[in-house]
């Protein structure tokens, strides 16, 4: 029961985040949504792992947290670089 509600709520959050990611409007909104989506995935996997008695999934959630962080940083860095180019081009 608790499991169902928790997972349901997490999925709902993810759905909302996904809606924001799809809606945009700016790239940054999408990144924000992606970040939130990622953290909720981490929690979801942890919850699922503990409740289904397979603690090995917790390793997985640690890893997801890392990947999520690196992903966000990568997007930011590369977007920044593209904007720099645009500035250079405009001048």
């Amino acid at each position: 029961m608790v499991l169902a509600i928790t997972i349901g709520a997490l999925l709902a959050i993810m759905l909302l985040a996904l809606a924001r990611a799809l809606a945009g409007p700016k790239v940054y909104d999408r990144i924000l949504a992606m970040n939130m989506f990622g953290t909720k995935t981490v929690l979801l996997i942890a919850v699922y792992g503990i409740f289904t008695d397979s603690p090995s999934l917790v390793d997985l959630s640690i890893f997801y947290a890392l990947i999520n962080f690196i992903g966000v940083i990568a997007v930011l860095k590369f977007i920044e670089r593209v904007e720099e180019y645009d500035e250079v081009v405009e001048r």
Partner: protein
């Protein structure tokens, strides 16, 4: 009956979305993304082949003796690696194409190539 095949149908829908992106999109990078989606959906198909209801992760545990099938997992591990290898090669080709032609739009490239062919 209907429901028991439901997830194959979802997979097929995904596959076709990816496949459509590959063949209909004009942008090379987007083609690559489509290719990835296509492949990922095939992976989901394999993994769902291996699922057993009531089974657990195929790691030996004391409290269960029904495991999902490990073989598709192994195959897909390999296939994922093959996929990323293809992706990285395709991406570097896209970069080179951009440097050589100044664009990654298929139509523009075709136009330029056609002109080159005519000149010869």
């Amino acid at each position: 009956m209907g429901f028991s095949l439901f997830n194959y149908w979802v997979v097929i829908l995904l596959m076709m979305a990816g496949f459509y992106t590959v063949i209909a999109s004009g942008n090379l990078v987007k083609k690559i993304v489509g290719l990835n989606i296509f492949q990922t959906s095939v992976f989901i198909m394999y993994i769902s082949i291996g699922k057993v209801f009531g089974g657990s992760v195929p790691i030996l545990a004391a409290n269960t003796d029904l495991y999902s099938n490990p073989l598709p997992h192994v195959l897909i591990l390999t296939a994922i690696v093959v996929g990323v290898a293809t992706t990285s090669l395709a991406l570097s080709l896209a970069i080179r194409i951009r440097e050589a032609y100044g664009t990654v739009e298929e139509n523009d490239i075709l136009e330029i190539s056609r002109r080159e062919d005519d000149e010869e």
